[in-house]
Amino acid sequence: MAALHAALRIPDPALRWLAAKSRSERRVMSALLAVVLVALAWALAWQPVARDMEALRAARPGNAAALAAARRMTDEIAGLARSSAQPAAPDARAGLERILAQQNLRSAVTQLEWQDGRARTVFAAVGYDALIVALDALQRDAQLRAVEATLTARVEPGMVRAELTLAR
């Protein structure tokens, strides 16, 4: 406490200087000091707080959406955890071949290799829309999904080179 008093004490030279001033001069100086203190508080405290509040306000819709999504997921997790896992469709290779044939894409496949239950499939040139339809069918009917994919635009409009890794 004594140390605080000592720290806050006005130095003697300043006190002597103040004593030499008239009453009205001291009032003006007090007013100026108050203005400076208010400006400092605004710059050092209020401005960062206002900035943080604005950032929090901007992030609020995103956070609310994320929270709502997490709640939906946890609600569904309870149901999924209770139900037993669905047995995988009989044969992934047969499923892939069947869907590629159904979508008229078998001839567009330029490379197809199976390794550790994953199919690395390359289409040198395939229509983007046809590829998306095929991926949807693979997920729905053969439980095969793209775990890795690289699509590169080709010169022909709507065509891509597609390198996919499909797995269950």
Partner: protein, 125 residues
């Protein structure tokens, strides 16, 4: 009666948190990621797609991506629950507009300049 309600609530909570590691949830972001991971595992076990699979993610982003000029997406790569798009000649206004649309679709975009264009990344937590 009340005891039964409490017991059911606790059972429901335990079922919801089954498989979500408590030590993973040290931050809200980690908790969100752990929930999403567990949710995806259970969906895949049922033969169902998860929100951060390649196709569902692309479907959620498609309305916003449709605002990009035709032919501007040079390549798209998916892996680990994220899509990375290389966009050529990306106008700053177009990217800002896309960012706003993606944000409203709950798919925040990471944008990095890349060779006169931009590299965009979006996906799960």
């Amino acid at each position: 009666m009340r005891k039964n309600m409490y017991a059911r609530s606790i059972e429901r909570l335990e079922a919801q948190l089954a498989g979500v590691k408590a030590d993973a949830a040290t931050t809200p972001m980690a908790a969100r990621a752990a929930i999403a991971r567990r949710y995806a595992e259970l969906r895949h076990a049922q033969g169902l797609p998860a929100p951060d699979d390649a196709l569902p993610l692309l479907a959620r982003a498609a309305p916003a991506l449709a605002t990009l000029p035709p032919g501007s997406v040079k390549s798209a790569t998916y892996g680990d629950g994220h899509w990375t798009l290389d966009v050529a000649q990306a106008d700053a206004t177009v990217i800002r507009d896309l960012d706003a649309r993606m944000r409203s679709a709950a798919l925040p975009l990471l944008v990095a300049p890349a060779g006169g264009g931009a590299r965009l990344r979006f996906g799960g937590p």
